[in-house]
Symmetry: C2
């Protein structure tokens, strides 16, 4: 059949002739939590953390999962992600970035479901009491070597663990294929999503200012350094850290006192730096 115009063609178009599938979005909501500290002199320990939801329906009933949901037929994917953020964690207007789209035909046992993952960053102190009742913050510990990534998640009650095998995809990059080799408690392919997200954040924190999306308005350089250290999983040298961070921050005239040591100056993010 020959059409004379685009309008004519579209009028007759029958979408049902193509395979149809479903699209979901899964969101990695990352933040930094404060631990407790008995020694009045010492700083509070900080933890890198992610928000998980306990499923109460099949499939994967009673497993933990990333906040997420189906994308509506007339809904933009990122809008769906923002809707989930609002529904599950009462969060609006925060940093949100698309990461990767997972399309293994067997990733959902129900039917063919594609999932686009997003990463969101927040200052957790802004919303501690507002999250949905079946949501929980898990502190993240990562052990990584050449071949495996071990991730430990702890919310004070449950400890989840999964292990991922890395295989270098090609010699010209450092891209890896991830495979889940151990996973007891997480639903779907979420261990892959979490591991990839952590890796992305670790990488991106080094060459952007996204860390400030996880900070309160005023913070000390010590606190900021703690956040870097806990996300990167390694200690940094003070002078080097301060040199790098100097351009990105502005000193204020406020100080924080009360620890048994020299008070520290409070800084703000410098959003007018020249890069």
């Amino acid at each position: 059949m020959e059409y004379k115009s685009e309008e004519e063609f579209l009028k007759d178009y029958d979408p049902s002739q193509y395979d149809r599938l479903s699209l979901t979005t899964d969101i990695l909501i990352f933040s930094v939590s404060n631990g407790t500290q008995e020694n009045y002199r010492k700083l509070n320990e900080k933890f890198f953390s992610v928000l998980l939801i306990k499923r109460n329906t099949y499939p994967f009933k009673d497993k933990w999962t990333l906040p997420g949901g189906f994308v509506g037929i007339d809904e933009d994917i990122e809008d769906a992600a923002r809707r989930v953020l609002y529904d599950e964690a009462n969060i609006k207007d925060i940093y949100l970035e698309q990461l990767y789209t997972y399309g293994d035909p067997k990733r959902d046992p129900r039917m063919r479901v594609i999932s686009t993952s997003y990463m969101a960053l927040i200052d957790k102190n802004r919303l501690n009491d507002k999250i949905s009742p079946n949501a929980s913050w898990f502190n993240i510990k990562v052990l990584e070597d050449e071949k495996y990534i071990d991730v430990f998640l702890d919310n004070g009650t449950d400890t989840l663990k999964f292990k991922i095998k890395k295989t270098l995809k090609e010699k010209t990059t450092d891209r890896y294929k991830y495979e889940i080799v151990e996973n007891d408690s997480l639903a779907f392919d979420h261990p892959l999503v979490i591991a990839a997200g952590i890796s992305r954040l670790k990488n991106k924190i080094e060459y952007t200012d996204i860390v400030f999306n996880m900070m309160p308005e005023y913070f000390t350089l010590g606190e900021l350094q703690q956040v870097y250290e806990v996300i990167l999983g390694k200690e940094l040298l003070d002078p080097a850290f301060r040199r790098i961070i100097a351009k990105k921050t502005v000193k204020t005239d406020k100080v924080r006192t009360g620890g048994g040591h020299r008070p520290s100056v409070l800084f703000k993010y410098n959003d007018k730096q020249k890069k």
Copy 2:
């Protein structure tokens, strides 16, 4: 209704209750083309190029489009991308990387179609005669400033042009929202896909070795530098370039003679470098 087990739940599950949509994949096949040169002394000019297909059906009949196609209901997205690569350009076993998933509800006038874009890199000389009859290589020129990206595509017969407006998404990163403000000849939202892909490649060529996926086995450092320059859109200083590239390449005992100047040594990619 209460289910006692996951198996029981899945047996009864009805996928039709959820919104269904279609998924396509669009592939940016990038390569470098050789120009011609009348002056026997001078090097061949090189061009950064992308493969486009002329559509002969609605919608967007007679417009140019990225190679792509629908993802089958039981097909992994990346497998679909590889299938398209093979069908349209007879290409197998090349560098392929997922870039971004486009989900604007209005991006396809027929129905709701999500598209996941991939970037593929090849040494064009390996396959010049095998591409499909309605495919064509377009040389790319990019003019970019703070607010706009102008892209010019030229295949020797047609010249396509589009213009994109950039808006900074947030102060903490250099992520931009792209909007098409001019586009005569390209189908769908492909100007966005192309612009984002070029930007990604420019960025990634600086900190990985992906450029070698576009090179023949043996090459001179001058040729390699040309490729960097044409992709980055700027000239590089010889000594600095050679310092950086030294770790990534291995000198061979072959030389290339014939230009009216000093012969140049042929190099290979060093895939055993320590990074």
